[in-house]
């Protein structure tokens, strides 16, 4: 039921563990650990970098006003921090960080 409703939701990543029940970590401990770990890596900023105000970020070549964090591991911006640039929410967007002034935007 939920699987049907979760289809095509852009910010949702669904992992279905084969032959696992409601307490999936008991049925599929290894797969559950992997799924949980991947989910947390995706959600959080494992390797974070704080941008200073004299740095700019490009997302797929477009200038983006830096917010606080970048996910260096996932190579995509944290979607919660993407209010300024919708394309940054797209997983897989290519980033480059370079020194420079925001005034030059």
């Amino acid at each position: 039921m939920n699987r049907t409703w979760l289809r095509d939701l852009p910010q949702v990543r669904l992992t279905v563990l084969k032959n696992a029940g409601h307490n999936a970590w008991i049925d599929a401990p290894k797969e559950f650990d992997q799924a949980l770990s991947k989910a947390m890596t995706w959600l959080t900023l494992r390797a974070t970098k704080t941008l200073t105000m004299n740095q700019t970020v490009r997302v797929d070549g477009d200038l983006w006003i830096p917010r606080l964090y970048l996910s260096m591991a996932g190579k995509h911006l944290h979607p919660c921090e993407t209010a300024f640039h919708p394309s940054a929410a797209r997983p897989g967007a290519r980033l480059s960080i370079r020194p420079g002034s925001l005034n030059g935007r």
Binding site: A20, A35, L36, A39, T44
Partner: protein
Amino acid sequence: METCRGKLTAVRGNAVCVFRTAVLVLAWTSALFLEQPDSYLPVADGCRLFVKELGDSRGPTAIVLHGGFGAEHSYLLEAVGTLAKSYRLVLFDQRGSLRSPCAADAISIQKHLDEIESLTADLNLGKVVLIGHSRGAYLALAYQQHPAKVAGLVLLGPPSLKTPSDPDDVALLKKSDDAARAFLQRPAIMLQLKREGLEASGETLTSRQKSFAWRIRLAGANVYHVERWRQVKGGQAFFSQTSGNTAAKSLPASWDFTDGLRSTACPVAVILGSRDRRPRGRDEQDLAP
């Protein structure tokens, strides 16, 4: 000979040095990942929350929300424990649950949401990931009313994301409920009871055997591999039916998280078992946990 002895001493010295370094590193990492002492957080209505923190205090923080309603945090330690290597984990018993005594009239969904707020403020957590299992996932979804405080959600076996309204959804719910009933009556559960010599009912079983039979049935509802019933935690004294029912009664008549999930800017990870067949409707209080 002298040179040989010198070399031997040097090797031995190096070995001692390496060993000491290893011990120091081990001690440092153990201290870092050590479970914090349990604490209590006073919250509104004269209630207190039992709080358990563990993991890397320097890592991003996740609050772990147990299910039920009315269960308690400890059954999730096994599920999320491995994250402690990299994350700070905050688990707690929701008000009215085992270690967080609270009057029944002070228990509601909104109060459960308020206590997440109290927890983040008291521990100065900033933005957090919410990991919710079962009806804890409902709380995580509902807490998204505070998007500025949420870095993302991990939903483990969430309850129904919406109360069905259109005919397609109603048909889907019926199908799901049928599957849930069949799952609870599957032969594997009876087979496991037989294997354990517990298929008899009533007074012929000792109280210990009755407990085991109950746990096998609990496992039958919550895990696919019912032969792993010994690993299923919770229930009985670890589950407050009263608190759970009170919280469940305060659920809205209908809800729909799918619109919010479609428009949210925050990432949401959902982990589902392909055989997760728990009842999903509003009036179906979870079996513990």
